[in-house]
Subunit: 502 residues, 2 copies
């Protein structure tokens, strides 16, 4: 740390008192020392600000997900346990002074989720085994070929095998499962093969390396699975359910807000629900995490509701299906925010249809979320809700067909034949430009409902693959569904009333 | 390998010849041996198929990107060089028999791009230094506190610092820059601190570890930067330009194909361009790679056209802007594939406007791609093209306003007043449902052009931050732009003629 100098705060004025008593003010002291001080002060305050920000961020991490803190404690615990290999003489001698490998294994292999840790442990052990055997073989061949040729045989084998293993890491299917294993293969092979030139007890070295790695891996697996385990599969499952709910909320919310816009009395509430409306953006950005979770999920043994070979890949399909809905949501949102203001008349005319489609669509998504969450099939309910959605779409299409009588033909220049006084007197009139936003919104809504049907198929495929049970708690289930349906109806009716009041 | 048994191929019939000469056919020999053979055959053929597939994939990797093969050779080369530390006695003794750390550093640190390798080298060296000093300090404190307490002091410090370092890895801003460094910190600290209990010459151990890591890192940096270097920044730059071109092609292609659909004579050509139309999907899925490239790009020194502190983050903003266009492209595409067939009349009416918007929009994107690619600002051209796009949008909005006279009022029940004979005789008529897809398409196109304006802003911001030069090669540049504009005009006119022929 730079020593803190005590310097006078504020601007410093030097005043010279002359012999005749007159005062002479000099320029402020902006010398080098002062500049340096200001620079140091700036640095310190900048550093303090950064530290504050960092602590704030760290605090956010902790409060948002306390499991992360548990993970940190688990890493510390595993390392403290593995230190025993140094502190207890019999353990230390047991691994021939190679306890370092155990520590290294724990540090490198310990990941936040069980699946990722298992993946790394398996890959590390497998890569070490394969490379160890191969390196011993190469060493034997090299040692038979005379002392002069030996370095060249070993060097060439290192070059070739390292290149080949690196190449395999670039192939996507290998990368997703054995990337770490290939890295460890290169590491162990180079290490054992090249050490053979200097180390006498090569077999013992390979043996110690393998046994320390196995000890480290087992310790990691024990700690990760016994102390508050976080399962990749469970995380993926929850993420998908959460995203479905978010998608349903924002679909519902956006459309309701659009048709309710005229009643602007609920501003504070609107702001509070703004986050909810943007929920679909989480769906857009969760592809990478879904993929890594599904990737690690397949290494996990049976846990909770999930078997060993749970169809995690199907979750990715569901995720992709949800994203395709979310893309349309983005277009829908932009259409809602569009500058072209829609006519109130058209909003009234199509409002009920659009609200029915959006609420029935989001009911389908919520029902699917419920199905995935409970892992119980309620196919009749889903079918019912899907049918309801289809009929709502049909209704909206009918509404679209009856629009033309709201249009004002008189607005078109050169179309004088249509200007009949009776028309102007009996029907309120709208220009086509005032129609475009609502028509676009309606047709995007129809497209979204089509994509939700694909989502239904994806979830049904999952139900088949994962052999979801049948939800036979009929009374509770029908009550729930009835409640959902009646809720949706109430909501739609409420909005309709609001619209009529406009 | 399982030994291959020689077994009779085909179904085996056993025939028993009785004493009286009569023949008795027995059932086919479907015994255990046969089943086993079939099983093994299945396994072998399955394995052969997998190997073939694997080789095919590997070949694809090689032919698609020969630089990947070069990367593999580079890894092999670096490892072969580092093996010299074992083969040459003075080098081996120089690092006190710790040559292993050099090999390990090379294996772990060597990444395909310069940026990623520099990131890992820097983090590894920094992490090792920090942890080494801290561990020596802890060791000194522990050794002063008596032999009984020593293990506890060391164990507690390992637990605390490992937990803290793991926690810092969970904070996004630290993770993106120092994730690997924190890992190495934990590794080195645990290793050196705990070794202190058993190893006498601890300072020498730390010294050797640091010097071997520096040697390995320097070797990696030399090899990665001197042998066909692949720069993350350059890759990101090319990716963004490539994606822009893809976006422009698919925007142009989709709209042109839609309005040309009726002339179905060009099926084979259409199939060939199908990939081009799906180009926007690359934009949707390139977020993760953009982020990692930008992350590694900032570690790279000045190379090619790029300075050390090139604003790589701005590329991420451009990427996000492009993705927001691509979301709308997805909706546009779904609208094109929609089951509701649009009326030919409306297609003719709006075709020219839509084509103008799409071609002028894609021209803007292509111009932006050119600007980013050459890193030369041609702001007047961009402005010109952006103005053209705006006026095309205005034209399309006018076209939308004049639609109503194409609508058939007679199709609406209960609107008898409008049924005038003269109308039916003079104007061809269209129902609103036939109008919806084209109107939706038009309004999504207008939305896309709005988002392209945001893209223009993002690219201009980049030009400002990276201090793009001015393209003063006026003759060439104006020729090129003229060519682009005239190409677009020709294309539009051609399509219009095709439409009129319909």
């Amino acid at each position: 740390m730079a020593p803190r100098k005590e310097v006078f705060e504020g601007v410093e004025w030097r005043i010279r008192v002359a012999a005749d008593g007159s005062l002479e003010a000099l320029v402020p002291a902006t010398g080098l020392a002062r500049k340096a001080w200001l620079g140091i002060k700036g640095l310190i305050s900048g550093f303090a600000l950064k530290v504050t920000m960092f602590v704030k961020k760290a605090w956010d991490v902790e409060t948002n997900d306390p499991r992360k803190v548990i993970h940190c404690i688990k890493v510390g615990l595993a390392l403290a346990i593995v230190s025993l290999f140094y502190f207890m003489r019999p353990l230390y001698d047991g691994v021939g002074g190679n306890a370092m490998w155990t520590v290294m294994t724990v540090v490198v292999v310990f990941e936040p989720t069980v699946g990722a840790t298992l993946y790394k442990c398996f890959n590390r052990v497998l890569g070490t085994f394969l490379a160890g055997f191969l390196a011993l073989g190469v060493h034997w061949v090299a040692s038979q070929s005379g002392e002069r040729v030996e370095p060249f045989v070993v060097g060439a084998s290192v070059f070739l095998l390292a290149s080949a293993a690196t190449f395999s890491r670039l192939i996507p299917s290998v990368k997703s499962r054995f990337d770490y294993g290939a890295l460890i293969f290169i590491l162990t092979f180079s290490f054992v093969a090249v050490s053979g030139y200097r180390v006498d007890k090569l077999f013992e070295l390979a043996h110690h390396r393998i046994s320390t790695i196995i000890i480290g891996s087992s310790l990691c697996i024990l700690v990760i699975m016994l102390v508050c385990p976080i399962w990749s599969g469970q995380e993926l499952h929850s993420l998908i359910v959460r995203n479905m709910d978010k998608l349903a909320d924002s679909l519902d919310g956006c459309v309701t807000q659009y048709f309710n816009q005229s009643g602007e009395g609920t501003n504070s509430k609107e702001e509070a629900t703004d986050n909810k409306l943007q929920g679909y953006k989480c769906v857009l950005s969760s592809k990478a995490s879904e993929e890594s979770m599904a990737n690690f999920g397949r290494w996990e043994p049976s846990h909770g509701q999930f078997n060993f070979r749970h169809p995690w890949k199907q979750y990715l399909k569901i995720g992709a299906s949800m994203r395709s809905c979310a893309y349309c949501m983005e277009a829908l949102n932009s259409c809602i925010k569009s500058e072209n203001q829609a006519a109130k008349l058209i909003k009234q005319h199509l409002g009920s249809g659009c609200l029915k489609v959006s609420s029935s669509s989001s009911n389908v998504i919520r029902e699917l979320a419920e199905t995935v969450k409970t892992m119980k099939k309620k196919s009749s309910t889903t079918e019912l809700l899907a049918e309801e959605m289809k009929s709502a779409v049909q209704g909206l299409q009918n509404d679209l067909k009856t629009i033309p009588h709201l249009l004002n033909p008189s607005a078109i220049p050169g179309n004088k034949t249509l200007e009949t006084a009776c028309l102007e007197a009996t029907t309120p009139t709208v220009t086509l430009m005032e129609l475009v936003p609502v028509v676009t919104l309606a047709s995007i809504l129809i497209e979204i409902s089509g994509r939700i049907e694909a989502l239904v198929d994806a979830v049904e495929e999952l139900a088949k693959l994962a052999e979801f049970g049948i939800n036979d708690d009929k009374s509770k289930h029908s009550k729930m569904t009835d409640k959902t349906v009646s809720d949706a109806k109430q909501q739609t009716e409420g909005t309709m009333k609001a619209l009529q009041r406009v």
